[in-house]
Symmetry: C2
Subunit: 289 residues, 2 copies
């Protein structure tokens, strides 16, 4: 006979998490830390990445296909768009297309910057595509913040090489790259007369560099991890929707299934570092297109 | 009245150059240096890059569309596939689809390594996609060479950041990254019992790092620039086809038109550094799909 309770007065929600690749696993990790007692279905649309170079219409079509997969095939009752490009360009389209709450990663990051900043001047680092969308600048402006955005294209490949400071190889390189980017960004902010006191990590790969950034920023500057901010917002929304999530429940109740639309080799090889636990078998799905 | 000759006993060929992006401009640069008296039409299929994550069939379809554009719209009589992924996966398909000679970048690189190596052991660095195709390993094997390939995913973004040693910013970072990659590669070669004496730069972005590589390799190791090798092969083939190319003709006779299938901003911003001269206006073309 089982010693675990067989009845449960609360409903275990299924949370769907979508990314164009596997970087969004950092968002899933933050979600699991806040809400371990949930089912998670993560899909990475790896066949069609990067979204950054595609049109808004194409990105919306792709993202809606993944969202529908999470709802129809996986029973998701809540969606987190763990992809900055899709959050910037397709959040409205996804919200229009599915009948469940949908959360992106950009608004929570801007809201967390609002809570952190005293000066109302914030810095945002992200990929080239996210910066060009100016989605963070606009989201910050809605919160009364002035944001200066900078593309840092070396950071994603540095993270994917594993040069994140956990071991010696490349550690010094990554520290130098971060220093160069921050020097350029702080100089641009100073030239614009800004007194920035908050740095938003606006890419799902960057949480793995958070300790390096926290050591590298000027004294007193707050570092906002948009994956963590998105997870906090998701927990608040889910509790608000009264779907019975218990953030204090045992982590053994976490159930995670990962899907990808193309070769799962890189996903399986690198994903565990992003998720902070083994990703297990990644299942291949065909969304067409 | 013009003082330039209005008749010309030699035919000025039109050479079509194709890449998935703009990295192949280093190949165009090498072609122009060898054959300044020619018309060049370059197309970067920027709307659909990167090819590296796509299937062989899809890459072949895309590459053939670009090849047909160069023939039908630009009158190309000779094609250079200045893209490692397309050379690895679609060269046969392009050769079958068009009635003009077609040259890739991989076979010339392997042939140059054959000419350079005394030990028959060579090292190849390239992108992840090129390494996974093992196209260089196979091409080298046809020349009796054993090749050890290594993916160096940080080098393309370092080049695109402009951290190539022409100025101070990032110079040290790039030197360190190159040293780490070469140390790993030389250690792997030694562990495999190889006595490598030749390094092939198997990516069209890498010619911009050639001076740094030449300083970083062990004493006596030859560095093969596959863009330069491809240009040498093209010149030999064109002279062999007696289309009247005069490599000694004045550079003022060079005519270059550049096309891209998507946003030309990055192409125009970075392209000149790859081409070694202004790329001028990049014309947008729609190849569909």
């Amino acid at each position: 006979m089982s010693t675990t309770p067989t009845t449960d007065s609360t409903h275990t929600p299924t949370i769907g998490v979508f990314d164009s690749g596997f970087g969004g696993l950092t968002v899933l990790r933050a979600l699991v830390e806040r809400m371990p007692r949930a089912r998670y279905a993560f899909i990475g649309d790896t066949a069609r990445l990067p979204y950054g170079s595609k049109s808004r219409r194409t990105i919306a079509r792709y993202a809606v296909e993944s969202a529908r997969f999470l709802l129809k095939e996986q029973g998701a009752e809540f969606l987190v768009i763990a992809c900055n490009t899709a959050s910037a360009l397709a959040l409205d389209a996804i919200q229009d297309a599915v009948p469940v709450p949908v959360l992106g990663v950009i608004e929570p990051g801007a809201a967390a910057a609002r809570a952190a900043s005293q000066t109302n001047d914030v810095l945002v680092i992200a990929t080239d595509a996210t910066v060009h969308s100016h989605a963070y600048r606009e989201a910050c402006a809605h919160h009364g913040l002035q944001a200066l955005e900078k593309a840092c294209p070396l950071l994603v490949p540095l993270v994917e090489e594993g040069w994140t400071g956990q071991d010696a190889t490349g550690h010094t390189v990554t520290e130098q790259v971060i220093r160069i980017y921050l020097d350029e960004l702080n100089a641009a902010a100073a030239a614009a007369g800004m007194k920035a006191d908050t740095l938003v990590l606006g890419c799902t790969h960057y949480p793995l560099l958070r300790p390096l950034f926290e050591r590298a920023v000027p004294k007193g500057m707050r570092v906002i991890d948009s994956a963590e901010s998105a997870a906090a917002s998701a927990a608040a929304m889910l509790n608000g929707h009264a779907v019975g999530v218990d953030p204090l429940a045992a982590a053994t109740h976490t159930e995670i299934r990962c899907f990808a639309t193309d070769s799962v080799e890189k996903f399986e090889r690198l994903g565990s570092r992003f998720l902070g636990r083994p990703v297990g078998d990644v299942e291949l799905v065909d969304l067409g297109g």
